[in-house]
Symmetry: C2
Subunit: 251 residues, 2 copies
Amino acid sequence: MKNIILVGSGNVATHLGIALQNCNYKIVQVYSRSIKNAKKLAQKLNTNFTNDLTELKSADLVIVSVNDDAISSVLSQIKNTPLVHTSGSVGLNVFKEKFTNYGVCYPLQTFNKEVDINISEIPFCIEGNSLKFEKQLIVIAKALSNNVVKMNSQQRKKLHIAAVFACNFSNHMYSVANDLLEKNNIDFKILLPLIKKTIANIEKKKPKEVQTGPAKRKDTTIIQEHIAIIKEEEIKELYQKITDNIIKLHE
Amino acid sequence: MKNIILVGSGNVATHLGIALQNCNYKIVQVYSRSIKNAKKLAQKLNTNFTNDLTELKSADLVIVSVNDDAISSVLSQIKNTPLVHTSGSVGLNVFKEKFTNYGVCYPLQTFNKEVDINISEIPFCIEGNSLKFEKQLIVIAKALSNNVVKMNSQQRKKLHIAAVFACNFSNHMYSVANDLLEKNNIDFKILLPLIKKTIANIEKKKPKEVQTGPAKRKDTTIIQEHIAIIKEEEIKELYQKITDNIIKLHE
């Protein structure tokens, strides 16, 4: 498995393409529905490009990195070839009966085209429709990353939800904090040591064990004072909801 | 201001006592309502101890590090002396008219007696009842930390709420994620690279600018799927609430 086609030209396709080339895989073609984007990535990778899925060359592996919503439609236009998608949310069943060798290669990371990423630290979650094909996928993933795990579609969906809580939702907590501080002329950076300490704690212990704060202590005086001080109705409700949830978890 | 009394023997008092001694301040006495705890910390600091506030020696500064609820009652038993409390939530007005020189020295960090802390990186928020006394407090804080800021009681309360969101609430997001992964035999450690990337992002940009995920994209298909998959009613509600909040913030 050395010749690879990238279907998609977004963040994941871009980072995977560069990393695969660095590991001596050959990207033989890039597809994007936008010919401009296909060309842009193909130039970066010094390879061919197309915006027509019926013109895909033959290759050892096709990597489909398009929006979740578009995967089904893209697959319907690809002839039988070994292939994977890179989505956390879409199950293996999206490939149905049409393909002989298919799987998922889900890199668990926020990708951004503009920012360099150390791909070797990114967890890759691998699933194949057969043990043999899965092994081949694992070989490729291990060339890219030191953190490769086998994971079925059900687990991957749960992992995606967990990632929404741990990353998207925690980032929103930082947004709310930032907003509150900005309105009071306090630099958000003052919170960084505390935020980093929180992360250092969960590297060593379970998050539940290192929970602190008024909700954990059931300090209703402070909780009521905080809710009274917060001006925005929806932030009041958010504070109350998460507080109730922490109190329940620690009962 | 070289001779200091510690009122309290908990996490903050312990770490402050050790750090102050390391900076050549002299801890002349430790008070705790529990004589056992007073003795324990006094032995660590090689100093005197008492469990009777009427027996406090005279000192340049008394640092009151007791539970928020107990501050008022402790102050009522202390004769006029220069003093500070270390709480984020309690205002300067707790000192009322009784004292001549008083203030707040609030270290913004989660303290744990068992874990060593690099106190020099901890932000210290300082407030004094006079410019002169505030300057003296800043000198002490700067001996301990490279991160000293002046902050009034109103700002400090807002900062405390922001810290609840950024640390206590984000830690709860990790707890929910951990719980979901444990139930599906997935190691929580798989999320650490993504969590660390989220922190790396907010060191460089505003949290709102680096928000990602289904809520940010208004991807209702995935949002509904996630809510359907989550089993616990209160976690479903939490997912929905935070999602609504993110969508509203990014409108």
